[in-house]
Symmetry: C2
């Protein structure tokens, strides 16, 4: 009865969720985008149990989403920094943010907001076709590739 895994799936969505689709990983990554880098910062900000955080950080480092770097304040401690692969999760976080913002808040309810450097709200995520025209769901399809039998 081990938790079902999808690390071998043909579908990249399944594989992505297998890697980072648990309760905490994306929240840790979100905090990393917000500039948090130290164990204690994540722990305080998320209210997560230290054991959980320890396990999750280790997995994110294994996955090469985060990496351990020497502390930026010169102390002997280490910090967790987003890697290239971690930075590439930005659209996922933004997608969740925009969906949550649109559907999970009552009118007028306070929430944090993503803005550009001038403080202007950003637009909605766009999926461009190869020619650059924005695509909606109904204009796309998933091409099944030969499922490798194992």
């Amino acid at each position: 009865m081990k938790r079902t895994g999808f690390s071998e799936a043909d579908c990249p969505v399944a594989r992505a969720l297998d890697a980072i689709g648990d309760w905490w990983s994306l929240l840790i990554v979100r905090d990393a985008f917000d500039g948090l880098r130290r164990f204690g910062d994540f722990q305080k900000n998320l209210g997560i149990a230290k054991g959980m955080l320890s396990t999750r950080l280790r997995k994110l480092v294994e996955l090469d989403v985060l990496e351990l770097v020497p502390a930026s304040d010169g102390s002997a401690y280490q910090e967790y920094a987003l890697t290239r692969r971690g930075h590439d999760l930005f659209p996922v976080i933004v997608g969740l943010r925009q969906w949550g913002e649109a559907h999970l808040y009552a009118r007028g309810e306070a929430h944090s907001d993503l803005v550009d450097q001038a403080g202007q709200p950003v637009g909605q995520l766009v999926l461009p076709s190869r020619t650059g025209r924005p695509l909606t769901w109904s204009e796309t399809k998933v091409r099944k590739v030969g499922a490798r039998k194992r």
Copy 2:
């Protein structure tokens, strides 16, 4: 030791993950985008335990991500269809897909692929500024709004 919840969070990412951030919900939604509508179809395709699926579907209906509609084949059964709110999850699924595709497959390894109606691969998700210029992570910031104390 109840599982930690974020349904009251000020951060839309946290609230979104609270709603749909468990192991199964986004995979069910992905399958719904792929056209699956019946309990048995989800169950067979995901290999999920029926009890889990039942619980998840009920929650997704409560959240108004899916809705129960009469079966399209005229039988007395019901089907699960994506709502507007469910369709709005498309960018999240695409974001996960593109990240997984980019980072979780060996060179040449088979995986399913998102294409437009002409069969052309789609582009990468883009976050436009208000003026339409594409933004990267480092050009954005999260504006904290007054955290409601409760």
